[in-house]
Symmetry: C2
Subunit: 319 residues, 2 copies
DNA sequence: CGTAGCCCGGCAACCGGTTGCAAGAACCTT
DNA sequence: AAGGTTCTTGCAACCGGTTGCCGGGCTACG
């Protein structure tokens, strides 16, 4: 059995409250006593039980991180960064995967509620109303979604989409396919919003689609058939699936069709052709979300992080 | 404030112990009373506080999952599967990233100790002795490492390496480079062990290396210089870095050099040429590790999962 | 030398549950 | 009708800490 505060108190000949204060309010205990306590604590390998502490203080020093799909390469850098930032603040992170299922997402949040100080919701699939309801029980920070009065970390998708379209028009493209993601995805909406305002362009919309390679593969034929010379894809996975599908139909990228993705995930960097993409600051978003949660405790600040168009090899001049 | 057991007891006109038993020992309470309690609990949105419960029962229904690098594409499928399996058992999972640093790993485990029922250690970088010491305080399941008397989930790397070498010799390769991973990596040792027993082969050993794309890039020149016609790489990332580096030197894969990786990560499947690799059952390992932890509670069962050689496009006949 | 003020440490209640013990009620048995 | 079971529920201690309050000892000051 691991040592408890009582063991330390007994071994040191002081009251438990003194031991407690040694750790949580050091200025209230005599330096001499404190070092004695610390010494015996170290001897016994004592570490305060965080769960027990949480019971009285109300702070668990845990946070939840809920993502749609851990295996989607967009998330790991975000998770890694969030977790590292949290550790620096002495926080532990529960990571949970919803499998893109809103019901799982809700249940997960509900079971987290009592044992975390807050939850980071990344690209949630729940309705705004449900999120607002759940927010009554536990502070949230939402990533990649805008919800009134709720702290959020956003990525400037609109700006990225704008740059991407400018890049394409600069290369002479006019007829451009827009391959969106799942229904209700904030990112998809942002992209569409920008596209709708683009003057003089001939845009063809495809969606909804799975946000995966399979989703890209599945629409490849339709995209090829529509006669577009360029594609703006929901994310890099979709873009890669699309390239895969186009190649299978002997349609060359970028020679015949240009493709741009979003996210800047590792497979895109390693792919041939290397993927032109709008880089999302996933790691920065993870760090920022943690800080926002710990600072605001649920008050509604919004941080918008810049995106950057990274031109590689999957885009070229229109025929 | 969320409802507590007292609120339910008061609202229902029973003692807290009755409410408690309604949830944790239903057979001890009169069916009529129970349904009344359940009704009011539902009304108030009551959910038992797991941390408080853990204080008396000693079971937290949490587990820790410690990996070297979340962003390494090998891990996300494992994390996802482990987390899903755990959720099915009503467990939550703390995920932590050690950044390949043994000291961080140790500290992490120490802080986890009190608030989890066990820890899944994936490809740990700590010494056996240290792991054994830490195991006195919290049950472990180790993935991809063999430690006496400790439950482990292993992947049959030796078998995979053997198949890979057979595949290469079958293609006429004799001089083969072995590009290993970090020092102390169990996987590296297994690979070397098999290689050492391979008859009639001319093996050149390179290592240690970072287990990343950068690691592969960095040794590409040395590998090219050594005159090997084939390479067995520590993992797919290293293999991809290697291919990248070789391409930059105008060395074609698989025309001039064949490359085999380990893991079967997504970027390898999307790469051109598609990577020939030894597939590691990461998801199965994650599930199995969770089950082992919950069943054995630290007793030393060992599960070995099969690997499979997946021949794609990065290997070909020797010149 | 008396007293006011400060520092320090002990006491005990409390956080939200769990659980061994015992008492009362209901139901049987003879 | 008395005595014995079996159910059901309340009581209270306990898990490992935290924290408001109080009192004892020491210092400082008049």
């Amino acid at each position: 059995m691991a040592a408890t505060i009582k063991d330390v108190a007994r071994a040191c000949g002081v009251h438990v409250s003194t031991v407690s204060r040694t750790f949580s309010a050091p200025h209230l205990v005599n330096p001499a006593t404190r070092s004695r306590v610390l010494a015996t604590a170290d001897d016994l390998g004592y570490r305060p039980n965080r769960a027990a502490r949480a019971l009285t203080t109300g702070r668990t020093f845990n946070m939840g991180l809920v993502v749609a799909d851990i295996a989607n390469p967009f998330f790991p850098p975000l998770i890694k960064a969030a977790q590292a930032q949290a550790r620096g603040r002495d926080y532990h992170v529960f990571v949970a995967d919803t499998d893109e299922d809103p019901r799982v997402e809700e249940e997960l949040i509900r079971t987290f509620t009592k044992q975390v100080d807050g939850v980071l919701l990344c690209s949630p699939r729940l309705s705004n109303r449900m999120i607002e309801r759940l927010a009554e029980d536990v502070p949230f920070v939402v990533v990649n979604r805008r919800i009134k009065g709720m702290p959020a970390v956003l990525m400037n998708v609109a700006q990225g989409a704008k740059h991407a379209l400018e890049h394409l028009t600069g290369l002479g493209h006019r007829r451009i396919a827009l391959v969106s993601g799942p229904i209700g995805s904030w990112t998809s909406n942002e992209m569409q919003g920008v596209a709708a305002e683009a003057p003089g362009l001939d845009l063809i919309f495809f969606g909804p689609n799975q946000p995966t390679e399979a989703g890209g593969l599945a629409v490849a034929a339709d995209v090829a058939a529509c006669g577009a010379t360029a594609v703006l894809a929901y994310n890099d996975l979709v873009a890669l699936g699309l390239i895969e599908g186009l190649s299978a139909m002997e349609i060359g990228v970028p020679d015949q069709v240009s493709v741009i993705g979003f996210d800047d995930i590792l497979p895109g960097r390693l792919n041939r052709p290397k993927l032109t993409t709008v880089a999302m600051p996933a790691a920065a978003a993870g760090r920022m979300a943690v800080d926002l949660l710990l600072q605001s405790g649920g008050e509604g600040a919004t941080v918008t992080l810049d995106t950057a168009l990274i031109v590689r090899e999957s885009t070229g001049r229109a025929q």
